[in-house]
Symmetry: C2
Subunit: 146 residues, 2 copies
DNA sequence: AATCCAATTGAGAATTTTTTTCAATTGTAA
DNA sequence: TTACAATTGAAAAAAATTCTCAATTGGATT
């Protein structure tokens, strides 16, 4: 069942890559799959070692390059934490915002963006032409808040 | 006039440091002053070289340590950009959110937080106990939008 | 003003992270 | 199948960050 889902997603991603002029490589699929199957955000080296379980000879540089590509394509985002922003998570939708549990590190997605609605108003008010925004919530998930 | 302002702020900061059990050192004052006097966000090495204009023998490690301290004290924040988050800017108020001009790098502060108001509602809606949030705007400032 | 002590610093080494280079490999369009 | 540009692996290089430790210093106490 999980396999089936994976295949299905692979097919979708393949089209997605091609439509944007990128090749669909096993390395890219693996990084994406690792992130999709992790409820928690993952650091570069965590991603690297998990990808290596499937593709043992993937180099670290490839992980860097792949994450850059996937981020550019809007498939993954950096998670910004107190001590920097070196972790990644998938985003299933445009303009969803990650809610990160500081206890278990799981990432949930908040789908309605409260900023979008007021973005124009903010621009008018401030004279600043807002192009994008970065919004992320930190807190405790249902399980962790006890 | 600029001097006077600086002196005034120094006095305030001194109290601020002492109240939290930190020493008020020339290095800390210099980093803070450099950031306060820069309309743009600054990278670690930019901060380092500007601080060196006043205190020529400050080491890079001190800049790292100082920024960590100032961030902990809520006096400065990291600016998160497309390519990472390695720049800093002062924040004049709690819960102001930076609006960063992608063209001139200047940072303006948006003082009303649209999230605060809805934070409780979001928590109720999602079951996620939101503790903090990170919000930042990217766009073009009045001067740069032409 | 002098003393003392813990906090802080400077200098450089060590470590970690990220980028670059380049030959070999590999998707995929034709 | 073939050809070619994109991608990769491996290792080196560069950059960023942290660590160590002796020396210094801010400021509380006298």
């Amino acid at each position: 069942m999980k396999e089936k889902q994976f295949k299905h997603k692979q097919a979708w991603v393949k089209t997605f890559f091609h439509a944007r002029g990128f090749k669909c490589t096993p390395q890219r699929l693996a990084v994406l799959s690792v992130l999709k199957n992790s409820p928690k955000h993952l650091s570069i080296s965590e991603i690297h070692s998990r990808v290596r379980e499937f593709l043992p000879k993937v180099g670290l540089a490839t992980i860097y390059r792949t994450l850059e590509t996937l981020e550019e394509l809007g498939l993954v985002v950096k998670v910004h934490l107190e001590d920097g922003c070196h972790s990644y998570t998938v985003v299933s939708r445009e303009h969803g915002h990650p809610m990160v549990c500081v206890r278990c590190n799981r990432v949930f997605e908040f789908r309605e963006c409260p900023i979008d609605r007021m973005s124009k108003r903010l621009s008018r008010k401030t004279g600043f032409a807002i192009e994008t925004h970065f919004l992320q919530f930190l807190g405790k998930c249902q399980d962790c808040k006890r």
